[in-house]
Symmetry: C2
Subunit: 229 residues, 2 copies
């Protein structure tokens, strides 16, 4: 199977920066390359776009195939088109970033055929291609976006404590926040539903659980409302 075009054209790929949060750090999912170029190096999950799928679909397919990840928050990041970013031939890459609930995905990523691992964002190995640039851009975007869009919840399980939520913001923004002021702000958004449950199996007073009120958010979003932390 091959195909002929009148003019040469770049190959088109997608690459994904998948963020997850554990107790310690904000982490990125990387896959170890098995083939040249950059065999043995860590790289972002990704691959070539097929003719019958959109870019978003290609990104989701690669996440599924390479990391066993489904149903995540996914957003287009930027398109990288340096002429020599791939030594084999011209490859333009449409990049995405994804936010996953790490606890739920840690296993599948690790048990996939290819070697996959989570790395703390300030302790990354050297990456293949221009993937370090892509990760940098993704972190910058995430830091900007988390302040005015409610995406922090995407990194947590459905039910979470306020302390967990605060930790998300502290890890993403890279700075400590005041507990009382933080709680005032999230309460002011009106987007948290207080549950009649508390966390389980902790060796201290158990914290109340909350959940994100997506329905209210979507209503407010239409009215041009801005979420702010």
């Amino acid at each position: 199977m091959s195909v002929t075009y009148k003019h040469p054209r770049p190959a088109l790929a997608v690459d994904c920066v998948v963020f997850g949060l554990d107790e310690e750090d904000l982490k990125v999912l990387l896959i170890r390359r098995g083939v040249e170029p950059f065999a043995g190096r860590w790289a972002l999950p990704g691959g070539f776009v097929r003719l019958d799928e959109t870019l978003d679909e290609a990104a989701r397919r690669e996440l599924r195939e390479e990391a066993g990840i489904e149903k995540v928050y996914l957003e287009q990041l930027y398109t990288f088109g340096a002429v020599d970013r791939d030594p084999r031939e011209r490859v333009v890459s449409v990049t995405y970033y994804a936010l996953v609930k790490l606890a739920e995905h840690a296993v599948s990523a690790a048990t996939d055929a290819r070697e996959a691992a989570w790395f703390a964002i300030d302790d990354l190995p050297r990456l293949a291609f221009d993937h370090e640039d892509i990760v940098d851009k993704a972190i910058a975007r995430l830091r900007g976006k988390v302040r005015y869009a409610p995406i922090g919840f995407e990194l947590l399980p459905k039910k979470f404590t306020l302390t967990q939520l605060q930790r998300v913001y502290e890890r993403v923004l890279g700075q400590e926040l005041d507990k009382r002021n933080f709680r005032k702000k999230v309460a002011a958004t009106g987007l948290l539903i207080e549950l009649d449950e508390v966390e389980q199996d902790v060796a201290h007073r158990a914290a109340r659980l909350y959940t994100f009120d997506e329905k209210t958010y979507r209503k407010l979003e239409k009215e041009g409302f801005l979420f702010e932390i």
Copy 2:
């Protein structure tokens, strides 16, 4: 000249949303298509990416070739990849938006071989392909970005009055602003240099001219400073 690949791949194009501001409105530059599909319809300036140029270079080349526009503020917007967005074949388009000083570019756009014209953003004709989606996305991005990045100046001549600057913000944001509060805010940024000149040939008291202090801005930018209006 033709080329054969092992796997089929989408064609890759760039399209540009060029914004300009006149006395009345925020406008977008459109080109009338001469060939099918969508012959006779207005469309964004753009074309296919060549193998030896980056995406940014392709966007600038198309602006130069199709509209005679050079040296403008240019930023990547989004990459559109719906499977059927072009009826001929699969075409993925990396889109950009540009800000031009309209007075300086009105002529060159009009005298180009192809028919080109400026349209007010809330009075656009029907566009070819998915170009209406692209324009919508560009307007949304511009509205968001103008609030925290000093890009309003890109739409004005080097020397401008505070009233002109205020009009930029009013046109872009689509809402009137208070003159005194606006002046307080721009003064607070410390990014305007007050010149010893006033505007010429006006039938009333002449306003003082200002210019944007790019050097100071670049210093502050490195320190993570945020410009806000």
